[in-house]
Amino acid sequence: MSAAAQAGLGAAQVAFVVLAAPLLQGFVRKLKARAQARSGPPLLQSYYDLFKLFARSEMRAETATAIQALAPWAVLGATLAAALFVPMFAAASPLGRDGDLLVVIGLFALGRAALTLGGIDSGSAFGQMGSSRELALGALVEPALLLSLASLALAAGTTRLDEIVAFGADRELGFIDLQWGLALVGLSIVTLAETGRIPVDNPDTHLELTMIHEAMLIEQSGRSLGVLHLSGMIKQLLLASLIANLFVPFGLHRDPELASYVGGGALLVVKVGVVGAALAAVESLFAKMRLYELPDLIGSASLVALVAMAITVWEL
């Protein structure tokens, strides 16, 4: 890929995730409301919320240091940087040569570090409670995420996400086997945990006993809060895109023309929509689990992905 194409694709992907992430959030919320026989907020409500927050002045805790003010931007920077390594419109990503799936996991970890430090900073017990839970869950999620992606990497013989997608696209339906299914289960559970959804966290509540992600943001307000909300939505879109393109890579091109980028983009919107619908279905069908039961759920994701790796090792 030429440098100009790389820059263009990079700008397009960043613009896409920033602009589309609130829409996915609104879409899931709308579907969930419909499933509960409510009409729910408008599809574009997330945009309205963000605009409102971006324009507001902030209230910071007297006890907070610069960390609280810097953390939201660090989270956004790390999450958007991760978007540059994820193949979205084609079997290519803007910075595929400069980072692989391990770097994406590392950037998520960087975002988590900034988010939790921001939650601890003010001294608020709520923020620290959220950080405490997020750190413990993050430690469990990390192996599940890595193993799910690594089992695909093992089959494809590369850790580059764009090459894994290209490998799947070339193999067409031959790409689908038992390991594929197990890895999909693993990554799906990871997505539920990482996006703060039921059964792991409840995005709609501010009840202190149950919350994780919202608790960390409790001392944040105004633009900082908006940036953190946006980062969370972008991370959700990134994970949905990973599921969409890694597991259903069909029709994506390795070295595409402009037209096939557009086609790949249209495909992505459809696939991400399906993932979003699945998220809404899970949220509607299940209840939130107790915090101390979560290791069973996330641990089973790791185990399933480990079995996927073991089968691949066996077959080699």
Partner: protein, 660 residues
């Protein structure tokens, strides 16, 4: 280079002599001289690493079989560079860390000298002379003035364990020297022993012997006791440099003195490393004493390095020299980066102790305002040890994870493949827990409000203490963003050990690449993160104007906020304690006193702890056995000279019969 090496060694001896005789009172000349020697040693090692080759000369030969022979090759230079780097920063810090002059000050240069000597030993005799000197000098430094019970217990435990380990390590090297017909490292390297029962025994002995120095579980128990007791500059040397000597010994035995061998060697090392890494970081998360937490984190990181060594052994057994070199590179890169990060954090902990007079993370807090420079440096170090990109702790783990994935896919045998997949899972768990551990360490010390006492009286320590800490932080960032340069500097050593260049920097100078798919450019990652934080900031500022903010009290459900409402280090890690309760076996006790016979509680007392399971369940029974048998053996010592003469006579006879 020989002259420079000798200059460094003599300067260290002089440093000791100056402190011992207190020739120059008032100025800490011994520490300044040690720092100077470290600069010279660093130059020699850097030259050796960049250029290849070796520095070799005879030090002293008191008897034909007892030659003190100096021979520093690439691998030795790697260890030497780690020792010199840590010694440089630690010595400058020690000058600022004002404390009354004691005999320790004269031991400190000798400790540095002996570690540098381990790196430069050219034969078995020299190696163990230096090794033993290192053990004894560090014992004296841990003992300190020996007044407190902690110092006595820690130093004696350390002395006992290190000597048992040394016996095994000596046995391992002598077995291999015997097979090679020479005690010289160079000849032993040429005569690489193959896979036989004897080599397997030597390797297993080395794993236990050198593994004790590196703190592998379950041989780690001395480490969280001994490392934190000493002053911070000594803790830094022990936890960042001395553990590396254990890894160094293991690498010499496993990769230089033995050739490709059995499949289970690599699996054994991967398993030992993975268990060590996970348990190390779990116990680190349970500690509330900052320096003990750091010592457990050293255990974790040596586990990670050992996984890399195991992966390299497996690749070599499967005749894949390229990937073997890459896995070895992961070990060395991580070892070097860990040395920078761990000395940074130990020196920073020293600065915290100096100004806040406490290391108890349950009581500290809010120090970022009082110690901004130390705080920022500690933040960089904490993120580094949490292994997030683009800081330097990530590089080694990236190469290692890549190596494990390719080992699983290499077709090197099902057992090896499954071991690699399992090690990968535990490596990821370790990384996640390490993030929790170091967010906790930094957050509970520097953020929030003090949880006990006050931070008002605290202030930044003297410049001689902040400059080394800031210097190490700068080095951590530079080694992270410039990982490709670090890889280029270090890759010669694994290449010569494995017989193949394992990693290159790709076409671009800033990229780290292993053979086959997937490369990583920390420069690009760093620029991407900074740019994608800055551009949205500017865009939102342009669209919505600059942010205004006001300050208000922390929200405390409507009541007044008090520092006691905050989480403590212990409560922050409670979810982890509960998630891993079957491994950590936490105990808690709630005691309720009632008003007379009524049901109204008068006082509720809560106490909880995480037991040191290995000490209580493994070492305590062993200790009872040892004491019991010592009592029985005492019957032999009845004080009669005739009986002792008889013993000597019998022993002599037995020796003659055996040796014939």
């Amino acid at each position: 280079m020989e002259q420079l090496t000798v200059v460094a060694l003599i300067t260290l001896l002089a440093a000791s002599a100056v402190e011992l005789t207190a020739l120059i009172p008032r100025v800490r000349a011994g520490y300044w001289l040690t720092a100077a020697a470290a600069v010279v040693a660093l130059a020699v090692c850097a030259w050796l690493l960049a250029d290849g080759g070796a520095v070799a000369f005879d030090l002293w030969s008191p008897a034909p079989s007892m030659r003190l022979e100096w021979r520093m090759d690439g691998l030795g230079a790697l260890l030497g560079a780690v020792v010199a780097l840590v010694a440089l920063f630690a010595s400058v810090f020690a000058v600022g860390y004002s404390h009354p002059r004691r005999v320790d000050d004269a031991v400190y240069p000798l400790f540095v000298l002996s570690m540098f000597g381990v790196a430069g030993a050219g034969n078995v005799f020299t190696f163990f002379t230096m090794w033993e000197a290192m053990a004894l000098t560090s014992f004296l430094l841990v003992l300190g003035d020996g007044r407190s019970h902690t110092q006595q217990v820690a130093s004696l435990l350390y002395l006992g364990m290190t000597h048992v380990a040394t016996v095994l390590a000596v046995a391992s090297l002598l077995l291999l020297a015997d097979a090679a017909g020479s005690q010289e490292f160079q000849r032993m390297g040429l005569a690489q022993a193959g896979g036989s029962a004897r080599t397997s025994l030597a390797l297993s002995l080395a794993l236990v012997g050198f593994g004790t120095k590196a703190g592998l579980v379950p041989l780690h128990i001395w480490l969280p006791r001994a490392h934190p007791v000493a002053p911070s500059h000594v803790s830094a040397l022990m936890s960042a440099a001395m553990v590396a000597t254990g890894i160094y010994g293991l690498v010499r035995v496993a990769f230089e003195f033995t050739g490709p061998g059995e499949e289970w060697w690599g699996i054994m090392l991967m398993a030992a490393g993975a268990v060590t890494a996970v348990l190390g970081v779990l116990y680190a998360l349970m500690e509330k004493d900052m320096k003990r937490c750091l010592a457990y984190s050293t255990v974790e990181n040596m586990g990670i390095v050992t996984i890399a060594l195991g992966a390299a052994l497996s690749f070599r057994a499967a005749s894949l020299p390229g990937p073997a070199a890459a896995a070895l590179l992961a070990a060395f890169v991580h070892l070097a980066n860990h040395a920078v990060l761990k000395s940074l954090l130990f020196l920073g902990a020293g600065a915290v102790q100096h100004s806040a007079h406490s290391l108890d993370m349950d009581r500290l807090g809010g120090l970022l305002r009082a110690l901004p420079l130390t705080g920022v440096a500690m933040l960089a170090g904490s993120l580094g040890l949490a292994s997030v990109p683009p800081l330097n702790g990530f590089t080694g783990e990236w190469i290692l994870a890549r190596s494990l994935i390719s080992l699983a896919g290499s077709g090197a045998g099902i057992a090896t493949g499954l071991a690699a997949a399992g090690a990968l899972a535990l490596l990821a768990l370790t990384a996640g827990l390490a993030l929790a551990c170091f967010v906790r360490l930094f957050g509970m010390t520097f953020l929030g409000l003090p949880r006990g006492g006050t931070a008002d009286a605290c202030h930044e320590p003297s410049r001689l203490m902040t400059v080394p800490v800031l210097g190490l932080a700068a080095l951590a960032v530079a080694a992270g963003v410039g990982a490709a340069g670090l890889v280029r500097l270090l890759r010669g050593v694994p290449a010569s050990l494995a017989g193949s260049p394992g990693a290159d920097s790709g076409a671009a100078f800033h990229r780290v690449a292993l053979s086959g798919g997937g490369s990583f450019s920390p420069v690009v990652v760093a620029i991407a993160v900074l740019a994608l934080a800055a551009v949205p900031w500017l865009v939102l500022r342009a669209l919505f104007g600059a942010t205004r903010h006001s300050r208000g009290p922390v929200w405390a459900t409507g009541g007044a906020f008090a520092p006691g409402m905050q989480y403590t280090a212990t409560s922050l890690s409670k979810p982890v304690r509960l998630f891993f309760r079957r491994i950590l076996l936490p105990e808690r006790e709630i005691q309720v006193d009632y008003h007379g016979t009524s049901l109204l509680p008068r006082r509720v007392r809560y106490s909880g702890r995480v037991p040191a399971t290995f000490e209580e369940r493994v070492y305590a029974p062993l200790r009872s056995v040892a004491i019991f048998s010592a009592r029985r053996i005492r019957a032999l010592q009845n004080g009669s000279v005739e009986v002792y003469l008889l013993y000597i006579f019998v022993a002599l006879l037995a020796m003659l019969v055996v040796a014939r």
